[in-house]
Symmetry: C2
Subunit: 315 residues, 2 copies
Amino acid sequence: MKEVCVRAFAPATVANVGLGFDFMGFAVEGAGDRVEMRLSRNEKTTIRLEGKYGHMVPGDPSGNTAGVACMALLTAIGSEQTGLDIRLEKNLPLGSGMGSSASSSAAALIALNRLLDDPFTVEELIPFAMEGERTACGTAHADNVAPSLMGGFVIIRGYDPLDIIKLRCPDDLFCALIHPHVELKTSDSRRVLRKDVPLADVTRQCANVASFITGLFRGDFDLIGRSMHDILAEPKRQQLIPGYELAREAAISSGAISCSISGSGPSLFALCKGKDSAVRAASSMQNALHQAGIGSDMHVTSVNAPGARIEHSCQ
Amino acid sequence: MKEVCVRAFAPATVANVGLGFDFMGFAVEGAGDRVEMRLSRNEKTTIRLEGKYGHMVPGDPSGNTAGVACMALLTAIGSEQTGLDIRLEKNLPLGSGMGSSASSSAAALIALNRLLDDPFTVEELIPFAMEGERTACGTAHADNVAPSLMGGFVIIRGYDPLDIIKLRCPDDLFCALIHPHVELKTSDSRRVLRKDVPLADVTRQCANVASFITGLFRGDFDLIGRSMHDILAEPKRQQLIPGYELAREAAISSGAISCSISGSGPSLFALCKGKDSAVRAASSMQNALHQAGIGSDMHVTSVNAPGARIEHSCQ
């Protein structure tokens, strides 16, 4: 055990990616949670909460996604080590649609894995992070934790067995991510969805998914844009997000190739060709929301952003 | 008008391609209908029916997909020419799941377009061929006519406007196509499908579609194989096809990477790595069906097979 203390960062994520309901996601550059961790001589794990949103998450390890994920890992390897000293810098807002819970667990797992001399590959950490998601939202889904850990754009093909496919997107594919300061409960976001989908709509959704992936491989931005037409979630969820239509129109008018809901909202993301275009789209969206009396944060990211990583370690 | 008489061929097609229900299709090498056509001085169009299945299609141009498609084209350009002498060599069995109706209209349109000095691109002929499909089965769908005309593997992204995307598949992706000699009404094939699909199933289907397209672009045969898992049509339709499970098992045992239903059946297709593997899969499937007392025809094709083409023209 070389490291005594490590600091790790894991990025925010855009899950669903509009038409990839519950199976697509990508990492976001520059926004994320940070974890500093030491192995403790005590049996008990403690979490010290810091950062802008630290006061909003549980300090009890059994209720905090970082704690839950680490316990799942330690249990899996039958470790005698059960005590961890965790400092969680909680930078991502909860219920934002930016993968806040996933970011905490991903950062914690990367840190713990390093402290244990990397017994797992990054991909092998995903099931432990999914346990954090189960605690946070009731479902052990992977569409935030997988891109937060692995970085870039991922497809969750299936869960039994877990089958994650990472795609390299065109280098000039960027994303403007806007978090409007409005409250939206994930339970409300789920509730508005249809439980059953007419067969013709399934065909349209699948056809757009196939075309979207084709667009990514070809670097065909026009195809990416016209394929980004979600008929499952967006039509139902947009009504829950004040200012959504205004922000969307602003994004498209400013040159974005598409705009949809990040995760279950209220955050919005717009895909753009080039970083400059993404910066313009983000500003336009913020302005449109501002004029409607809605404050927001913005992030601009490559869709090939890096995943969770060790920032610092000391012996 | 240089040509007086042309002969054209258009291939059979595998529509749906398992998990691409109603939006994917590819052309089949070596099987298809043939049309010989002359512009007539009479106002009336006549169709002379030949070939193995000529006796099974209407000779009246308004009820024959070749005639309907040609009339749609002539009407679109406001042509004074209304009379055509058509000889239709009907080689594809009807109701086979091999795109029989589409093959006739595609061959006829390619011939007529040439006789008129090619006023349309091949892609622009698709809407006319779709009118043939409307006559044949009640729906103007494009998942057979598009690959029959254009060749190769296509995605029908949408109909309004018509948006067809052609993919280049891995060169060594081959298909074993088996037509079992059993009767299956398209109406029965439609009837067994669920009208509504549970949201979780939609996600699984979309995730497999995204992964399948990724597999095609990467030439990742393992991914192509494990993504080919249709939960919309196959579980319902396979029970209508005697010997389906036997043939499917024979295909997979012989090394095929996947096996599913072609179109609405009863034909089956197996995707294989390399032509030899496809030949082996086809033989195994035929043997399995034979042992169950079911005769069949087989075809082995590249998934990048050519589309409709002029075979002969004379001045």
